[in-house]
Amino acid sequence: MAIVSRGFGGRRRGGDEKLPPGQYLVTDFPVLSAGPTPRVNLDTWELRIAAETGQSRSWDWAAFRQLPHEDITVDLHCVTKWSKLGTAWRGVSLDTLLDGVATDAEFALARSYGGYTTNLPLADLLGGQAWIAFSYDRADLDPEHGGPARLLVPHLYLWKSAKWVRSIDLLTKDQPGFWESLGYHNYGDPWREQRYWGD
């Protein structure tokens, strides 16, 4: 039974039907990172996908930007409670990047420049649900928001959308990432309010 807070009215900001439980709407774009923003040099940038078989494929920046891309407009939900609706991104679908990769893996671990990691089921990267985004709001992606390129998996809390992504490992056994090892939920579905372990 909730405690009613004497004198608290709250302020509904609209768009409530698009807000998962416990979230509130923002119009700015807050930044959350665990350390300094890493300096990523496009001349040496690389994106690698490594399967559990030992096979891997990689792209340098020029090759990555030659891949077919998509424009997507999605809602973002951060575990720190803010949601931002209707954000416009451009990126390469993980379906494109993973096309033809032979794997029995059920899990993926994204690794970033700067050392960040996050894990998710491989199925959540497929089927038009995930991108490597390189543009936000029709401009190059700012470093503090994950530029030059970040993972974008908008149906999960935003910590799963690893900034500064450099590789995705396909794994037969799940391996908790950075926040997932520090008390945050292993899956992170905002509509089920899976913020922390045990949620």
Binding site: I3, G35, P36, T80, Y196, W197
Partner: protein, 251 residues
Amino acid sequence: MARTAVLGRLTWQVATVTAVRVQTPTARTIVLNVPGWPGHRAGQHVDVKLTAPDGYSAQRSYSIASPPGATTLELTVQRLADGEVSPYLADVLEPGDQLELRGPIGGWFVWEPTSPGPVLLVAGGSGVVPLMAMIRTRARTGSRAPFRLIYSVREPDTALYAGELAGLAAADAGLDLTYVYTRSTPLGWPLPAGRINTDILTAGQAAPPGLAVFVCGPTGFVEAAADLLVDAGYDAQTIKTERFGPSGGQP
């Protein structure tokens, strides 16, 4: 990496306000009695939930200001002009009122009193709150780890914990306190108002061995401070940050 952040399910607990203390014209410390509080580590935060009579509820995260082991849990809340929850906590809440919270949360931005190495704390505005928990923990446990706090505020009367910090620093050569005033300084202050810079952050020194750095404040402040430290040769892997935007995860 320590994996001791949050072990069980984080259930909502009812907390009772036992006192409120004015810190500045726009910030208050709320002292809470939380029966069964599982304990926390310096630097962690809690989620606070307020519920309106019609069932509408709002959640926000607030850093814990009190050290582990204290009998009460303290939050210090800065009122945001456009805020939904912070004006209630900073202006309306009174002793005897109850609210719901769950925690502790966050196993990264924490300092352990068993760590002997030197610590650099860099605070912007209300970003000092989790760093104050570290300073209080250091004092409470008798740690001799050298601490340096660089605290950037707009003007003197917006500094949180000013009296307590002055007292702690005066009594302890191991705690060095440096204020940075970005809009206006106290009378007679030797420097003009200005932003944090490399000289202030590093005191002209390379990073001492084993240094741990904690930077907390608004996004622009944290980006700037962390960038300056990395430019000065400090190892990015030793710098932990906690950021809040104008409407980000923290007050």
